[in-house]
Amino acid sequence: MEREMVYLDHSATTQVDEEVMDTYVRANLNFWGNASSLHNFGALAEQVLIRSSRQMLTLLNANDHQMIFTSGATESNNLAIKGLAPNHLRGHVITTQIEHPSVYEVCLELEKKGLQMSYLDVKQSVAEMIRQLEEMIRPDTFLVSCMHVNSEMGLVLPIEEIGKVVAKYPRVKFHVDAVQSVGKLPVDMASSQIDLLSASAHKIHGIKGMGCLVVRKGLRLLPQIAGGGQMDGLRSGTVHVAGAASFAKAMRLVIEGQAEAFKRMQRLFDYTVKQLRHIEGVQVNSQFSCQSPYIVNFYVQGIRGETLVHALSEHDVYVSAKSACSSKSKKASYVLLALGFDEQVATESLRVSFAQETTLEEIDAFLEVLREEVKRLR
């Protein structure tokens, strides 16, 4: 049977939208000046940048913030955390154990240099987590960094509640890694009282190599890249103007379609979970009370996750085992371990992740191939 490929790995990356690509091409052809040049042609590029920033800030309801364009969310996370870490490298940071490596590893690095870390237990109920957070905040705490949606499990963390607590302490800043939530769930920087937010273009049908850090105005960061002082001195380097324009476009498109897609995604999620349960030996891991419908994580007893990824890809069905960024290491997923799953499940689980264009037919095709392969491999 001839059919197109089934791509269910949208949390790893997405295909660039044609309209977004069109913006990228046109911005490169028509507004290729250097945004820092003083002449009019440079000023046009600067206008593209200003307008892109403004559009994105509006979409994120970031009414008291400025936009820093970066090479991706990894750089944004690095800038947010290292940039806030005081020079003398003492102080205390609160984060979780399920962060993306670009937060987690940065925290480990800072810990080696003398900073102290506390990790929120995300297994608890929201009320318990908030209580724990309040107990954790110390006089030398300067940052709470917390992802919005976990990329492996789709677990949604209560950033609005956390933001409320953090806002009570003016010296403590609140950073949110929103890579997996922008365009999928409502992200409102004002009402969640977020000081810094990281996002990435290629997760929302934008181009790769483009990210942003949204920073509350007046907040002082130590730049991690020094040079010509672009982006208000916070991120030097000739600004990727066309990238910024295409990011703004991608964000607008995905957020405009967000509410409707969310409803549809919930139906797809429920359907997928139900169908997976019917397969013998399958256990669905991602069913939290706060769950993003864009991500389903499951465990197939007796077959190694990696084996299944390869088997499915023979049929042009693409899913992933652990997150792509860390899937080259053989270790068990630290995310699943932190969420209380045993070593076996944490090593052998699979993830399917959706995007707005995902169809029921694709999911059916995936399920069919999965059933077939599970039967064959057992």
Partner: protein, 405 residues
């Protein structure tokens, strides 16, 4: 966003008896011109209010444009509902929860223009205030120094809820006070002078003295770039620029006049030419960016000797400003970075080593009598090249950019 309209309050206009109508119309024109790119907007005009109905257009983008209009005292984002106390309460709660960072103290002020409404102003305020207190956290009433005043207006056409008020630029709508000719060199001061003139309602045209090949094309381009920034505040987004071919006259001055009087006499020539150009274009006043005491040409003695050549009034908006005060305005109107670009202009070429700081009118006249400048001056006035500097072209490009996004 809960807001569906912007309420615009008129500036000093409110106190201008008979001229009020002229000013009001000029302001309406200016606002409509500024908002032309947003086709979806509609406008409602009442006696002392001007409403911009957003129809889905982003309020932030619109308010950014309003911040470029003179004659506008203040404006508020507003939401409309029916004349029903429960609807008003509900809307007030929505408005106050949308504020960020949320106010901690507030006060409700009500105006009941529609006297047929069953509650009195005070009762409405208390009732809405009570509703807000019951449905929010950390919010208390403070009638003396509130963080935020929530305004409610009950009018025949509906009830409006507004939070806070944004200050506009003030002043008078550009064009409501007639026309002035601004002498612009490319420095920091003259664009600021142009901005301040427009603030008081003066429509400006500009005059620039070019001395190629001593001054370059880039120096002229700099003036054009500066005027584009100043034209943002012009009623139609356009400023006429009169370019004077000054080379021959300036060479003659350099050749025949004594060094220490060269600069004074050059400026006297400029005023003569500016006056001639102004008369040709029905302009009644000259203006420039002179500031007292900064350089030799700006001592009071110098000003006196130079000014003597014309009877036309000369407005010097920044005469009493400190340099830093001028720079502040220049940065605000985004001309500073362009102004400090290092190109020669006609005031920086042939600069004598020690110009006279206390020139006299008598000596000027004595020196000038040695050469017949009449034809050279007349040629300058006759050969003026006039260009229209417009932001419209820029607006079109901006529309193109917006279409990209």
């Amino acid at each position: 966003m809960v807001y569906d309209r912007i309420l615009v309050r008129y500036g000093e206009l409110s106190i201008k008896g008979k001229n009020r109508k002229i000013f009001k119309n000029a302001l309406h024109r200016a606002i409509r011109f500024k908002l032309k790119p947003f086709a979806a907007l509609t406008f409602e005009i009442t006696r002392d209010r001007f409403y911009i109905i957003l129809n889905g257009v982003d309020a932030n983008v619109v308010s950014e444009k309003l911040n470029e209009v003179f004659g506008l005292q203040s404006y508020s984002l507003a939401a409309k509902t029916e004349n029903d106390i429960d609807a008003i309460k509900k809307l007030a709660l929505e408005v106050i929860t949308e504020q960020y960072p949320g106010p901690t103290t507030f006060k409700v002020e009500t105006k009941r223009a529609d006297k047929s409404f069953f509650m009195q102003s005070g009762d409405i305020s208390r009732s809405v205030g009570g509703h807000l207190l019951a449905n929010t956290h950390n919010l208390i009433v403070n009638v003396h120094q509130p963080d935020m005043i929530l305004n409610i207006e009950v009018r025949r056409e509906g009830s409006f809820v507004m939070a806070g008020r944004v200050k506009g630029l003030g002043g008078f709508p550009v064009g409501s006070s007639g026309k002035g000719l601004l002498m612009i060199s490319g420095g920091i001061d003259s664009p600021v002078a142009g901005y301040l003139l427009q603030k008081r309602g003066v429509e400006i045209e500009a005059i620039h003295f070019a001395s190629p090949p001593y001054t370059s094309e880039r120096s002229l381009q700099k003036v054009v770039d500066l005027l584009k920034k100043v034209a943002v505040y012009a009623a139609t987004g356009e400023i006429k620029l009169h370019i004077v071919p000054f080379t021959k006259l300036q060479e003659a001055i350099h050749q025949h006049m004594p060094d220490h009087y060269e600069m004074t006499i050059m400026r006297r020539m400029m005023y003569r030419i500016a006056e001639g150009v102004a008369k040709n274009h029905d302009i009644m006043v000259l203006a420039n960016g002179e500031s007292l005491g900064q350089v030799a040409s700006q001592t009071l003695a110098s000003m006196n000797a130079i000014n003597a050549v014309t009877a036309m009034p000369i407005i010097r908006p920044v005469a009493t400003y400190d340099k830093l005060e001028i720079i502040d305005v220049a940065q605000k109107i985004d001309t500073y970075e362009t102004s400090i670009l290092p190109f020669e202009d006609c005031c920086t070429i042939f600069v004598p080593k020690s110009p006279a700081t206390h020139p006299t009118q008598a000596l000027c006249e004595q020196y000038e009598a040695m050469v017949d400048f009449t034809d050279l001056i007349a040629d300058c006035i006759k050969q003026v090249e006039t260009r229209i500097i417009s932001i419209v072209e820029m607006e079109e490009t901006l529309a193109e950019i917006d279409a990209l996004l």
